[in-house]
Symmetry: C2
Subunit: 172 residues, 2 copies
């Protein structure tokens, strides 16, 4: 999946950018961060929300069947709020420079504990790289989410292929 | 109508506040500013958008039939973008202190010109008071939108009744 996450853009710009992403990567599901209205207007596949956004349960009532809803979870209080989502993003598993407000790293064991409490497919986020991928898969991650591992790389395509190989090596 | 406009609140808070407003003023249509997803989740009656938000035409595709869509118009370029709305808010007709980014006042004649170009019911906004209401109604305003005239008053209930009387005096 590609998640479109541009906190400072207007809804008007977001929907235009989302449509460009759609054209550029037509075969990859597109998820829009925070804004279900933008996601719907851009014909995206889903929306990903945090704890200060509309809850997955509320969103479910306003999106069509099959629309993907993801939720960020970083603490026990956030577990309950994730109910109704299709997947959760749990982290930051490791320290990250991509999101200054992400909080302190929780580590793979805590990741696994929160994932069990959510009872949903859990994507590991925060400091995920080729090096850290095996550890999160070993504790049950259904997937990984990355920013720096791709866009902090001198060769993002190579970095993506290396991550793909790390997932394939674990049978994901 | 009541329009909920709190630019700094999270979507989570907005939906909670919207539901409280619904309970406090159950018989008045509730419009949420900017966010169609919040409006839908809060069972509001509509959404009001500006030029940097999703366009009325796009919004129409993602809201149920009968959902009210309002659009702000302040210049000729914004007229075209209002297509698909149920009403437009045009202004600032007079100088206002409520919205620091509102731009300079356009006056009643320019209000009327933009209203004709939109071809939609037009609500006058910006510096509207009991004193200025007759002038905007005289040039064809379908309604008035106020912040300061109520909340800048020592007695908002009295101020509302006075505005109502000014509208009734013009047969609105």
């Amino acid at each position: 999946m590609v998640q479109l996450r541009l906190k400072e853009e207007s809804a008007r710009s977001l929907v235009e950018i989302a449509r460009l992403v759609r054209v550029m990567v037509p075969d990859v599901p597109l998820i829009v961060n925070d804004r279900a209205d933008v996601a719907l207007a851009a014909d995206a596949d889903g929306v990903h929300v945090g704890v200060d956004d509309l809850s997955p349960a509320l969103l479910r009532r306003i999106v069509p069947e099959g629309f993907i809803i993801g939720a960020s979870v970083g603490s026990d209080d956030e577990v309950e709020r994730s109910a109704g989502a299709d997947y959760v993003g749990i982290g930051p598993v490791y320290a990250t420079g991509s999101k200054p407000d992400a909080g302190s790293e929780i580590g793979p064991e805590r990741f696994a504990q929160l994932a069990r409490r959510c009872g949903l497919p859990a994507v590991a986020i925060g400091g995920i790289s080729v090096e850290t991928t095996p550890a999160v898969l070993a504790v049950g991650a259904s997937g990984i989410a990355v920013i720096s591992a791709l866009f902090g790389s001198a060769d993002p395509t190579r970095a993506a292929l290396d991550l793909r190989a790390a997932l394939d090596a674990s049978g994901r």
